[in-house]
Symmetry: C2
Subunit: 343 residues, 2 copies
């Protein structure tokens, strides 16, 4: 029945009446092996479809060549871009990526990390879940660090952890976005904020607030509403904004999805963009260039983040004992399009 049991080195050894060591060496082109033996064994191995059992090698060498990627979600453009970046650098090096999705849950994050450690993953890229962040949990991370498994934070980070991290400069991106709106002449700028507590949300929020302050513009509480990063979550808040007695003349969305939701609501109300209301998003997702009007946004280099994070990991891995964590902050860049270009 189980005729499909993978062929092992022992099987081949039996076939050639030699020892497993010989087979192993033959397959690995060890010089001390007779040319004929080598050729015969290699031919036979190919014929029967022998494939090295990497599990046993992992055990022997304590190297698994697998890395963990723990993220809250994979359904946004940005996250997948990051994963692609990781992939681009690490797949060619022979690493396998184990993707774990936490759905913003602390428990899942904890379990994922524990599983990865048990599987002797050689490094972990982590974007902490919202729940973890809100509650300020960190014990599950201590575990990883104690093991000296390289841990790289992506985007969402803990300030006080001795680990490397790769983040985008959300603050200045947001600042630039709002400054741009002001320079165009918009006076009442609303912000559709991300979920409270997340670095990403808070940094962009801070950029928004500080920019308004810099230009001595009032910060109106009622112009700041929460969203959940996705399109739908922008609909109601935007409606509320536009129904205000003194509605905003521009909206800065925490990301493109939210800005696109706002765009839709504004258009439904018959407002012209950018004449009646200006719009700016964040992410520079592919779609943002093709909405009508096209969306002014802040480019967020997801692929690059993934590639930089890979670099940080490799540095830590090859670092000689006295490892010093690095922080990479990639600049974000304002991309001006039609949705804010009131003339």
């Amino acid at each position: 029945m189980n005729s499909s049991r993978p062929v092992t080195i022992k099987d081949i050894a039996r076939r050639f009446r030699c020892s497993p060591s010989t087979v192993s060496r033959a397959l690995n082109d060890h010089p001390a092996i007779n040319e004929d033996t080598r050729k015969n064994i290699q031919e036979y191995a190919k014929e029967v479809g022998y494939q090295r059992n990497e599990v046993s090698l992992s055990l022997l060498n304590k190297k698994t060549a697998s890395l963990g990627v723990v993220v809250p979600t994979i359904s946004n453009y940005y996250e997948t871009a990051v994963i692609e970046g990781l992939h681009t650098v690490l797949q060619p090096m022979g690493y396998t990526l184990n993707i774990c999705v936490t759905n913003e849950s602390y428990l899942l994050e904890k379990e994922s990390l524990s599983k990865l450690l048990s599987n002797r993953t050689e490094g972990i890229f982590l974007s902490v879940s919202q729940e973890t962040y809100d509650a300020g949990y960190y014990e599950h991370l201590e575990n990883v660090i104690q093991r000296k498994t390289p841990l790289i934070f992506i985007d969402r980070e803990y300030e006080d952890f001795e680990t490397s991290r790769a983040t985008v400069d959300d603050y200045h991106g947001a600042f630039a976005a709002v400054e741009h709106l002001i320079s165009i002449g918009y006076k009442q700028i609303a912000h559709l904020k991300g979920p409270n507590g997340l670095t990403v949300s808070e940094q962009r929020f801070k950029g928004y607030v500080n920019c308004l302050k810099k230009y001595s513009m009032p910060i109106r509480e009622e112009l700041i509403l929460n969203t959940n990063f996705n399109v739908e979550s922008a609909i109601l808040p935007t409606k509320r904004l536009l129904e205000l007695a003194s509605p905003p003349d521009a909206i800065f969305g925490v990301n493109d999805q939210v800005a696109i939701g706002a765009m839709r609501v504004a258009k439904d109300k018959g407002l012209r963009i950018p004449q009646d209301i200006g719009l700016v998003g964040f992410d520079n997702s592919p779609i943002s260039a093709y909405t009508f009007p096209s969306l002014t946004t802040v480019h967020r280099p997801g692929r690059k983040i993934g590639m930089e994070a890979s670099r940080l990991f490799l540095n830590q891995l090859n670092g000689s004992g006295d490892f010093a964590p690095e922080s990479i902050v990639l600049p974000s860049e304002l991309v001006i399009r039609e949705s804010s270009l009131r003339i």
Copy 2:
């Protein structure tokens, strides 16, 4: 230096001057272990952060609890939805997903599969790359099948392989989309086709053609242009369509991205949607509901596909020897929105 070597059962055994077997049994709550010994060992294990080495267990039990997911890309909404579906079912069962991205390359696909087999992955979900499909390669798959590693095709499939598969009924979805356009009264329906050779492209194309035939409408070659699934790739073809002497009055895009690209071009030309030109996409991606006008599209149940594929895998795994491959075809569903509702 390597004070971080993970604690093993042997370490604990040494500490308690007992045998590894005792420790193993104590940790696994084996009944034949003295209550005190058990408690002491468990406490100590927790204290020093012992974590079972799953690699050694994998070797011993020939079970790795890891699955391969091989896909051409992860930067589309649909693909990530599928992965989420797989995750939803399989993560709770203790499986780890190894995601491999092939970038539509045969070589990468082949290497990925080989790697997964070497790692003794217990099952593989595969959406074959375009290159593989075009060239009709299949030897790399024979290998998987010979190993009796469950192989589940997702969407892109080989007709003549004895494996389970989960696909969406692209043909009828496309048919319904075009039929809808016809019923509204559109006469010259163009199609922005996907890359040649891919099942997905061809099925939708066939739906388009056959529907036109059914209603005795002419099939105009010049109204069928290729795209690459992404927004940008729709821009030029759409321009060409709209510059024709007798331009189309509706466009059926192979997916939402392409339809949104077309929408943009049409609007730039000052055309009103749906009055001057009707638009239909495919996928029902989240954004499609919030474009302006909102996009009529065909819902493609990615999450469900992932979940069904998981089920197929589990069936095959638990199947008693005489395994019969299953084909699941999920219906796609027309979602009528503004972009086609000319009155």
